[in-house]
């Protein structure tokens, strides 16, 4: 490899985010920095797991993680990471807990920012900004954020507010070269709402249960869009 080719290879490495092995069979392997991905599908098909594994993969590259959690409490979110990453890496996992149930019980925690309810969309933004401020230089090699789930947000706030929130968040991710993943259960909402929201994401990964119970995924968006369903 010539010096120029080597430079290009390093450059490519820096400007993309590597995804976990479970997506190897789809074309979601490396995603350009500044991208927002929507994972759409029915519950219990592994969207959450995909988010956790993608965020955990960031530990290999010194990329911290922020999880915005609407239903699972912060301690449960962090303990899910304990299974897949080293304890030292857990220092780079931050949670914005908007379940509205954790504050009294656990008090202040450097890794957890509490928001009173999923309807407090500005509060979620404040929580994320605080995590990023605390991380400081740590986000220099990138940051991976996951929001679980848009479906809960839509139960607490109307479609207009949630859209505007998603727009501002995704534009911050784009401007800062971060990576974000959001989950939605498309069947819970009308098609118009989902289609309007989809337009804010560079990638939409749809999940379904195929014949014989095998999970399948197809990816819409991106330079080499893969419209065909593939098992994963």
């Amino acid at each position: 490899m010539t010096e120029l080719e080597l430079d290009t290879a390093v450059q490519t490495e820096q400007n993309t985010y590597e995804l976990p092995d479970i997506t190897a069979n789809t074309h979601l392997e490396r995603i350009p920095a500044g991208s927002n991905i929507l994972l759409s599908g029915p519950p219990l098909l592994g969207q959450d797991r995909l988010v956790y594994e993608t965020l955990a993969r960031g530990c290999r590259y010194d990329q911290p993680a922020i999880v915005v959690s609407t239903e699972r409490r912060a301690n449960k979110v962090r303990s899910r990471f304990e299974d897949v990453i080293d304890a030292t890496d857990l220092e780079n996992v931050y949670v914005v807990d908007c379940t509205g149930s954790g504050k009294q019980q656990f008090g202040d925690d450097p890794y957890v920012k509490y928001v009173s309810s999923p309807s407090d969309l500005t509060g979620i933004g404040i929580g994320i900004a605080k995590c990023i401020r605390e991380l400081g230089d740590e986000v220099e090699s990138g940051l991976r954020a996951g929001l679980i789930s848009l479906t809960t947000l839509l139960q607490y706030a109307d479609e207009r507010r949630v859209f505007n929130f998603a727009h501002v968040m995704s534009q911050r991710v784009a401007a800062a070269d971060y990576l974000s993943l959001w989950t939605i259960n498309a069947a819970s909402h009308d098609e118009r709402t989902v289609n309007t929201l989809k337009s804010q994401f560079e990638y939409v990964a749809e999940l379904r249960e195929g014949e014989g119970g095998q999970r399948e995924m197809r990816v819409l968006g991106g330079p080499d869009e893969w419209r065909e369903w593939r098992p994963f």
Partner: protein, 135 residues
């Protein structure tokens, strides 16, 4: 005082005059912006300009959403072949593209935490009484 102002639902913006540089804490408490003492005409004008720019950005986000929602409605009602010859749809498509480009070109402003939170507050709040919903 801030709460009283908000309760009246005037949709007016509020900046606080402070002695030190508190930045993020102040934004968190609900102010739209802050001016650091000593107050000068320049710093006051700059703060007002920032808040006006933020409001303009926010109203573009609102318009963008309203038009995308309208587009999604037409998409639900019509076939692709009908859409490409529908004048309303074609015009909507052109305008949403234009807004998307404008908003993306200005997304650097969101790298500033105070601006980011201020913008979120602006676009995720209830619509102001003096701004017609849906444009």
């Amino acid at each position: 005082m801030l709460a009283a102002l908000r309760d009246r639902g005037t949709g007016c913006r509020a900046a606080i005059l402070t002695a030190d540089s508190p930045e993020f804490d102040v934004i968190e408490t609900g102010f739209d912006d802050y001016v650091t003492k000593p107050l000068s005409q320049d710093s006051l004008c700059e703060t007002i300009d920032d808040m006006v720019a933020r409001e303009e950005y926010a109203s573009k986000v609102e318009e963008y959403h309203a038009l995308l929602a309208k587009q999604a409605e037409l998409e639900a009602d019509m076939e692709q072949s009908e859409l490409i010859t529908n004048d309303e749809y074609v015009a909507l498509d052109a305008r949403t593209d234009e807004l998307r480009t404008d908003l993306e070109a200005a997304n650097d402003r969101l790298l500033d935490d105070a601006e980011f939170v201020g913008t979120l507050r602006e676009v995720t709040g209830e619509p102001n009484a003096d701004t017609p919903e849906g444009l």
